[in-house]
């Protein structure tokens, strides 16, 4: 009966980081108009939540799609260490050129986590605050939006 059932595992992680929304393609006035207080030159910070969803066969011996220790370790190495208590604009290569809106942060994290070898990444959901959430499931995006990391591959 359950042969065609699909099971996904969801895990939530947290990091805190600062960012400033400022596009080099816009004038000072336009930046202020578009981004408002998020354009403050000194930046500001958020407690981000990253919800990671993976799928795969449930191993009969362990009852697991993937051992949480392996998933946690990968996310810790690839995302948390790189983003936590950092300035996204200054400390994360992908955001040297690109505005670190949470839309783009979500895409960047998806690109990093899709390399996870032990399960299939289904989607990444980011909460910037408890009132804003963004989701990305790997849909095709134009080249100009791809991360620098993605372009190197």
């Amino acid at each position: 009966m359950s042969d065609d059932l699909k099971i996904e595992l969801g895990r939530r992680y947290r990091f805190s980081a600062s960012h400033r929304l400022h596009s080099p393609l816009l004038s000072e006035e336009q930046n202020w108009r578009v981004y408002g207080k998020c354009n403050n030159p000194f930046g500001h910070g958020h407690n981000y939540v990253v919800e990671v969803r993976v799928s795969g066969a449930v191993d009969a011996a362990t009852g697991m799609i993937v051992n949480l220790a392996d998933l946690d370790g990968f996310v810790e190495r690839e995302v948390i260490e790189a983003f936590d208590h950092k300035s996204l604009n200054e400390d994360v290569e992908a955001f040297r050129e690109r505005v670190p809106t949470t839309e783009y942060v979500c895409v960047e994290i998806y690109e990093r986590l899709k390399q996870f070898p032990l399960a299939k990444l289904e989607r990444v959901r980011m909460e910037e605050t408890s009132n804003n959430a963004f989701e990305y499931a790997g849909e095709e995006i134009p080249d100009r939006l791809r991360s620098s990391r993605g372009e190197e591959q």
């Binding site: 059932l5 699909k6 996904e8 969803r53 449930v58 009852g63 799609i65 949480l68």
Partner: protein, 140 residues
């Protein structure tokens, strides 16, 4: 199509142990979840039913009826139970979130007669959940 979701909570204990593996392997794979006396969680279950609202009642499925199904099939079976020893549907399985959510799907699906079961999401903690749906259905 309208999607209706109802939440319930239940509290239960479990442990992870595969008798086919050595004590060392069990400890290595399952870590503290292998503690032989078990441990517990407050589980939160979200059940989503899809369907068209009835033209007379405006309901996909009477929430009262769904509440009774969840009470009978899930709460009575799992609330304040030791999942390894007291839930026959989990016999021979490690009671991970992945396995419990599938058992819950199989218990609920035949009981839902108005609309159809679309998705079941089971939180073991606020930061860990498993979701079950039919292949081709949306994981959203």
């Amino acid at each position: 199509m309208v999607y209706l979701t109802r939440k319930i909570e239940f509290s239960a204990s479990h442990l992870y142990h595969n008798p086919a593996l050595s004590a060392e392997e069990n400890r290595r794979i399952f870590g503290k979840c292998n503690n032989s006396h078990g441990h517990g969680h407050n589980y939160a279950l979200e059940v989503t039913v899809a369907g068209e609202p009835d033209p007379v009642t405006g309901m996909v499925l009477d929430l009262k009826e769904l509440k009774e199904i969840l009470e009978r099939e899930i709460t009575e079976r799992m609330d304040h139970r030791f999942l390894n020893y007291e839930v026959p549907e989990l016999n021979g399985q490690i009671p991970t979130c992945e396995n419990i959510v599938r058992v819950i799907w199989n218990l609920l699906e035949p009981k839902i007669r108005k609309g159809r079961l679309h998705k079941v999401r089971l939180y073991e903690t606020p930061d860990l959940f498993a979701e079950c749906y039919r292949n081709g259905g949306s994981g959203r």
